[in-house]
């Protein structure tokens, strides 16, 4: 098989000392930021985006992907040991994981999370290797109207999935798209949404937006919500899984993978949904229902596997279609763009060496992460001991540093602060930030596809619904937005009738 030979060539390149080093840096950094509360993989990749001016494309993309994978591993350590979980995708594992740690089974929880992440990550990366070329074959027949429709699907599903309500998700999305449109329009030369500020003519840099929304906005939100003291639960017991725990874990790992990878691989968003699904599946299937809510190992094993499998899944539409469906994937896409590379079906023919090296490095990254998170988990536990005041002070320094790194000025710093204030407002109103980041980066691409479609049809909007595939995609997009409210309405009607 052709793809297999290319993958082997990719392994050859990925195993070069330089690429191995960047994979290692990526997974180490990723685990660290996954562990640390208040800083996640999207923010970290954004802060490292300026490195793309210095590094070779393969090296920095291997590092970014490592950060993405590592963040998924690291998040589980925090959710198990800290009483205040970090990122949204690991909240579910905190349900049972923190209970297990409190009951003195922290080591088993960490082990099942790490091994489960490895199993799921590896299976899902195999899935990525096979599904991505297939998706490329399908996507090669797409024209601009199909791409535009696909992007609308990604927009609406990300908005519907990544927030507490569809409306809030859409608000976040629209804000992101709006910020993404700031600057000179390439085709007409018109300045858009620049408010007369000359520094805005070039648009707002991705780094500034992501750092502002995540770092500054988050910090203000934490400050204004008052103090909440975190406690770290000490790890007790053996670092390896006992035979009983292993027997209870392996099926949830595989089920979590089976849920996580396909959902992640859809050009629709979210690592959260598979973790929820996996948790409820394990709760229903368990032979120990009495343990759920008090620290059931299945409740950690399943969601953690789902979490990692969906991370690999998300890379399928990112690489094969150029569609980011999570905040981190969107920032990684921005990294590709810095090299003038546009992910999508052509990537696999024009930059096939890069793609396959990247995919091979994911297999290697998973092995590195297993080592980092099983025998060496103690290091990460110590990271949790960093007092929040030093942590946030450090984050603030690095957040502003990101602005200098892209050649920014004092004006850019104030733009960063304004976006930070916006990020705080979003948190106050419970509007999710992730759709904003996806909208920011995908918005201009969608505009480009829309304009291309209209250029082909000479302004006839009918081209957008000219093929059955387009129409089908718009139906999916409409369903993503309309179904959740309708379902809620039906449920409340039913509840009202029952009462």
């Amino acid at each position: 098989m052709d793809g297999f030979a290319e993958l082997m060539a990719g392994f050859g390149a990925a195993l070069s000392p330089e690429n191995l080093l960047f994979a290692l840096i990526g997974v180490v950094l990723g685990t660290a930021v996954g562990v640390l509360p208040g800083i996640g993989p999207a923010l970290t990749v954004a802060l490292l985006l300026p490195l793309t001016f210095k590094l070779e494309a393969t090296s920095s993309l291997i590092m970014f992907a490592g950060i993405y994978y590592g963040g998924m591993y690291g998040g589980s350590t925090t959710s198990i040991l800290l009483n205040t979980p970090g990122e949204s995708a690991s909240i579910i594992s905190a349900l049972e994981g923190n209970k297990m740690a409190r009951a003195g089974r922290g080591a088993a929880a960490l082990a099942t999370a790490a091994i489960g992440s490895f199993v799921a990550g590896t299976i899902a990366t195999v899935g990525l290797s096979f599904v991505a070329p297939f998706m490329v074959d399908v996507a090669l027949s797409f024209g601009p109207p199909e791409y535009f429709a696909l992007m609308i699907v990604a927009f609406t599903t990300v908005a519907a999935v990544l927030g507490s309500s569809v409306l809030r998700g859409l608000v976040g999305l629209v804000i992101g798209v709006t910020v993404g449109l700031v600057g000179i329009d390439v085709q007409s030369g018109q300045a858009r949404l620049t408010l007369g500020v000359p520094q805005l003519l070039d648009g707002v840099d991705v780094v500034i937006v992501v750092v502002g929304l995540f770092a500054i906005g988050e910090a203000i939100a934490v400050l204004s919500s008052g103090e909440r003291r975190s406690t770290v639960t000490p790890v007790k017991g053996s670092r390896w899984l006992s035979r009983v725990d292993l027997r209870r874990s392996w099926r949830p790992w595989l089920r979590g993978t089976a849920l996580g990878f396909p959902i992640g691989a859809l050009p629709a968003g979210g690592a959260e949904i598979p973790t929820f699904l996996s948790y409820s599946a394990e709760k229903r299937l368990t032979k120990h229902p009495e343990e759920f809510g008090h620290g059931a190992i299945e409740g950690v094993a399943g969601p953690e596997a789902a979490n990692n499998a969906s991370a690999a899944g998300v890379l399928v539409p990112l690489l094969a279609l150029g569609l980011p469906t999570s905040a981190t994937a969107a920032v990684i896409l921005a990294g590709f763009q810095n090299y003038g590379i546009q992910p999508g079906p052509l990537l696999f023919s024009s930059n096939d060496a890069l793609v396959w090296t990247l995919i091979a490095s994911l297999y290697i990254g998973n092995v590195l992460l297993l080592v980092l998170n099983l025998p060496l988990v103690g290091i990460w536990v110590r990271l949790l001991q960093i007092p929040p005041y030093y942590l946030y002070a450090g984050i603030a320094v690095f957040a502003t540093l990101g602005t200098y790194a892209i050649g920014g000025s004092t004006v850019d710093l104030f733009i960063l602060y304004v976006i930070g204030a916006l990020g705080f407002l979003l948190r106050l109103t419970d509007v999710p930030v992730a759709p904003a980041v996806v909208g920011l980066i995908l918005g201009p691409l969608a505009e480009e596809q829309l304009r291309r479609s209209l250029a082909i049809s000479q302004g006839d909007l009918g081209v957008l619904v000219s093929t059955p595939l387009c129409i089908g995609l718009y139906v999916v997009a409409a369903a993503a937005v309309l179904l959740p409210p309708v379902a809620r309405l039906v449920a409340s009607r039913r509840a009202a009738r029952a009462a």
Partner: protein
Amino acid sequence: MLLALGVVLGSVSLRGRHGAAPVATPADGGESLDVGRRGAGADGTGEVDAGPDSGVNGDAGASGVLDTPETSEPGVPVGEDRPPVLRARPAVRVAVFVAGLVAHALLANTAGYVVAALVLFVAVAIAFGAPRLLRTVLIGLVLALVVFYAFRLGLGLALPDLGGR
């Protein structure tokens, strides 16, 4: 109130080097405990900057965490149980945070990056309830210097010099 909480938690976890540290009595001048804690502090700065390598050797203080025996209160509180430099309402804390950001932007091109970053670090740490002003200033200074030279030597990008450009 925080102090009282600290004493309670501290006495519950009166074991392990790190567990013992948080006992916050007014008489504790701090110097005797500094060795262990300085480790934890250095970890704080080193980490954000370089990744976990510095976590390995930077942290002598927290090694008690992994082998703490059974406690009735499962959980080691993060940070020190000392009164913060600033005790204030959230609104005031946010104001201090924002003041630090604005001061940073204004100072960067006039007083230079290191001063600006130091001011930012200290302001944010205080807004987040850091105790021990002197230690915070020292950590901030080290971080600012490391970042300044790492940028200049590593990336070849010049941050504003001392005294501005």
